[in-house]
Subunit: 255 residues, 2 copies
Amino acid sequence: EPVILAIANQKGGVGKTTTAVNLGAALARKGKKTLIIDSDPQGNASTGLGIAADEREANLYAVLAGTTEASAAIRPTSQADLYILPANQDLAAMEIELVDAEARQFSFRDRLKDAAQDFDVVLIDCPPALGLLTLNGLAWADRVLVPLQAEFFALEGLAFLLRTLDRVKRGSNASLQLLGVVLTMYDGRNRLAQQVESDVRTHLRGRVFKTKIPRNVRLSEAPSHAQPIFDYDERSSGALAYAALSDEIATSLGL
Amino acid sequence: EPVILAIANQKGGVGKTTTAVNLGAALARKGKKTLIIDSDPQGNASTGLGIAADEREANLYAVLAGTTEASAAIRPTSQADLYILPANQDLAAMEIELVDAEARQFSFRDRLKDAAQDFDVVLIDCPPALGLLTLNGLAWADRVLVPLQAEFFALEGLAFLLRTLDRVKRGSNASLQLLGVVLTMYDGRNRLAQQVESDVRTHLRGRVFKTKIPRNVRLSEAPSHAQPIFDYDERSSGALAYAALSDEIATSLGL
Ligand SMILES: Nc1ncnc2c1ncn2[C@@H]1O[C@H](COP(=O)(O)OP(=O)(O)OP(=O)(O)O)[C@@H](O)[C@H]1O
Ligand SMILES: Nc1ncnc2c1ncn2[C@@H]1O[C@H](COP(=O)(O)OP(=O)(O)OP(=O)(O)O)[C@@H](O)[C@H]1O
Ligand SMILES: [Mg+2]
Ligand SMILES: [Mg+2]
């Protein structure tokens, strides 16, 4: 049985995709067979792992619509033990189509559960919204990882996100739990960032990872080379941080 | 007749809200009566202009649902001539409710057009998606301003956004035009940023504003004081850039 980990935050641009791709790569480097599900119509995780826009005929939309089997849509990446189920803009239509579907929040679980059995861990990269695509990820997930930029607007959305997790736990998925919050794009010289960090560590005592992901331009360059950070620049501060985060997460997931 | 300007980009965290709030404030400082419509369920523009979470009884969801008049939901801000129609998380439900509504993409126009007549310019802060909320903004807007972070993922989404604008222009709004692209969080020392800038200026010849908004921590601090940048730190590089952008935009809109 794989561990299903949703990477979610409705705030945009906080590092969800960067975390999915690089945490996934770090877990794969530890020999864990890892699947990343790109559930964002932007398809950034797919691009970051080298799936060109015209190679996404078999994608998450096609799997949910029933025209493709999940196992046929899952691809290997340049990193051993790391696989991706890609997305493209077709997926935006699914947000509307799911509205009238039966058991609409369980489409991910129903269509992906069997193919996921081959893996040790599944990471779901969620879009920047709490719509039906993200709710599908949360309804299937065992744990949720929340990337949090140390900024005011990002902190404002966190309380609402945690209430949403509680609602999903009471409703469609009783076993859902917060794995933790990881601070991203962290710049220790910035007073606001220090303030946000101390606020979050006080309010969410024990549920904020020790590892902070620093702002590191190499992390934003790597996707244009379609590589995870370890292939692009394994000595960068970004690579070291995601490796350290993967140690913390492998321990708390019992991987 | 006011000019309706949608501020849109499905990529998250590129500076849509920061641009709506501070461009709005800069246009108001020029004596233009300016309305900001917060159409993002996160409600960041409302927070950035000082509308506390428990003061949003009258909000965009209530206006679209027909339980509140737009004129009753529009509030003044600390900046003369700058007004806001706030949003809160209720608005997320509207994305689903609009699916089955008549002429679903024209709810904004139908419910907001009359109240907008009092203003010189209306700025619509869009959420990070191309769903029904953003499509409502685009169906009503005269012009679209696209904030673009000089990063690889943000550039990737631009082509799809421009195709969507074309589709809206052919479908629900023949008068829609791209006002232009504004580079945000720009760090000139960063090679990737320089590359993205030259790519965009080449492909979108003449449709990228000269003004670039620099990365400036004062812009990310101002919302925690519920102030536009001009009240928080009017000598900051962020304030100077948004003032310069407002000069370019006022000229091209004929304001
Ligand atoms: N630690 C970091 N240091 C520097 N740049 C980063 C870092 N993490 C992410 N980035 C860059 O910041 C931008 C936003 O990150 P990313 O796209 O991963 O966020 P996201 O939450 O997935 O965004 P969205 O809400 O649009 O899905 C990207 O251009 C990415 O390359
Ligand atoms: N020029 C800038 N310099 C520094 N920080 C900035 C700048 N512009 C925006 N920010 C900060 O970056 C973050 C993202 O900006 P903002 O929230 O305006 O983007 P957005 O596109 O509206 O995000 P979303 O997609 O979630 O709606 C915010 O924390 C904001 O304070
Ligand atoms: Mg993403
Ligand atoms: Mg915003």
